[in-house]
Amino acid sequence: MFSVRVKNVTKHSKDTVTVTFNVSFRSFPGQFVMLNLPGHEEIPLSLSSPDSVTVRAVGETTEALVNIQPGELLGIKGPMGRPFSIPNGTALLIAGGIGIAPLIYLHDYIIGRGGEVKILYGVRTSEELINHRRFENIKISTDNGSAGFHGNVIDLLKVEDRPDRYSRIYCCGPEIMLRKLYDFFKENKLLRKVEFALERYMKCGMGVCGSCALENGLMVCSEGPVFNGVELEW
């Protein structure tokens, strides 16, 4: 474990911020850190860039983190975990809610290397949207129709695009959404192209305690959080 200082906090909405550190990590998109705000729980958070996490308040620790001030100290373990693989053609990124966090990093990474990216980004209401104007090639869906496509991101996918045209597809969001995407891609025999960034309750974050085990025995913290569709047994 080592400590970093908060350099900057960017507020996206009432419950979501991006916390930027004073150091940039050697890392890849899809990797996460175990972040410890002293006095609170240590929690896993995906990197949304080499020097930031983007976090949504859902409980005690994330709440505290959303209200953190520049200059404060954070304990960090990582970056760790298996990252997304790099596409060799156009990439499709499918985000649900705060699932956008690691995909921001992936997007910037691919664009920075001259690649092409399309994003489908679903949220419940337009207030949840994070900074979506920074992305060039993006389609939005909202459950309540307050912005973009009215419906969920899977419906958007079906009407908007032909997924087989992409070299690789990356999904991150609530598990219920991921499972539906899994079914959809399985049906369309595209699972091999698809990568899912999963979340599990994590205790050690080091592959030792086993609390993040998947149904097939794989560990999310040390063997994920990114898994190829064919590795999952859903």
């Binding site: 400590s3 729980e41 030792v208 086993g210």
Partner: protein, 293 residues
């Protein structure tokens, strides 16, 4: 050539998964069971228990300090989870509790277990851990009760945080334990010098991993010299050489925990390496205790 029989349990090799490592779900146990000689589950108690808040594990270079705590879903829920265990190797259920009756009652939830291990020794759990395991009279009583509750072999897992581990081992033996497991983790802690606070949420925890190997080995050596029942060695075992070292000291089998940090193929690799060793030497069971006298 690696097979052993531990208190009537046939094992394809002497390599067991230590309690608390990858042992909370059948899915991970199934995976480890493909190559292990036996697996021990995470310790389970009567009621659901939260364990400590994160952070619960530090890697300090020479080993780990953990304060996962005796987090447990409770015996009933856990027994349901373990029904998905596919039986790739013998399954040993680790139990904890604060009284002989409480612990003995737990065995009834796990009729499918091949053996039980009593965790007498968690260094960072109030009332149910070390407090129980450092009192020889209580240890003897607990083992007696648990033995009465089941026909399966019962192992007592001992702590090194005592004046004399042999005294506790003897108490377990008198209580009727089929074997002793040594050692659990050693009390320890770490402080972050920037935030100037203990790193673990629980302040202190238990040290495991390579750092404690010589300490565990000495406990195994002493228990082997003084007890008649089998000793199962655990603490810092990482390579096949460590396995041989523990068996020479008197361990009939070994358990491995922290080293899974390095690889989940550990049991496979160790098994292959030990096969190479026995091809040039005698079967493993013949070297048990050979470093003595």
């Amino acid at each position: 050539m690696l097979d052993i029989e531990l208190c009537g349990i046939k094992m394809r090799n002497p390599l067991m998964l230590a309690s608390g490592i990858l042992g909370s779900y059948s899915s991970s146990l199934n995976r480890i069971a493909e190559n292990a000689g036996a697996v021990v589950t995470k310790s389970v108690g009567a009621e659901e228990r939260e364990g400590y808040r994160n952070p619960v594990l530090i890697n300090y270079g020479d080993g780990f300090v953990n304060a996962v705590g005796l987090s447990s879903p409770g015996a009933e829920v856990f027994s349901k989870e373990l029904k998905n265990f596919r039986g790739g190797c013998p399954l040993i259920v680790s139990l904890f509790g604060s009284s002989p009756e409480e612990i003995a009652h737990l065995t009834s939830f796990f009729p499918f277990a091949d053996a039980f291990e009593i965790n007498l020794s968690c260094p960072h759990a109030e009332k149910v851990g070390l407090a129980v395991g450092s009192d020889p009279t209580l240890v003897r009583e607990i083992v007696t009760y648990v033995k009465k509750s089941t026909s399966k072999p019962v192992f007592a897992k001992l702590s090194p945080n005592v004046n004399d581990i042999v005294e506790i081992g003897k108490a377990a033996e008198k209580g009727g334990a089929d074997g002793v497991v040594a050692i659990n983790t050693i009390r320890g802690m770490s402080i972050d010098i920037l935030s100037r606070k203990p790193v673990l949420s629980n302040i202190s925890g238990g040290v495991s991993g390579e750092a404690i190997k010589p300490i565990a080995l000495k406990c195994v050596w002493d228990l082997y010299e003084n007890l008649k029942i089998p000793v199962i060695g655990v603490g810092g075992i990482t390579t096949w050489k460590d396995v041989v070292e523990f068996m020479l000291a008197g361990a009939e089998a070994v358990q491995i925990g922290s080293a899974h940090f390095y690889s989940y193929k550990l049991f496979f690799s160790l098994k292959e390496s030990l096969l190479a060793y026995v091809r040039k030497n005698e079967p493993l069971k013949e070297i048990i205790g050979m470093a003595h006298g």
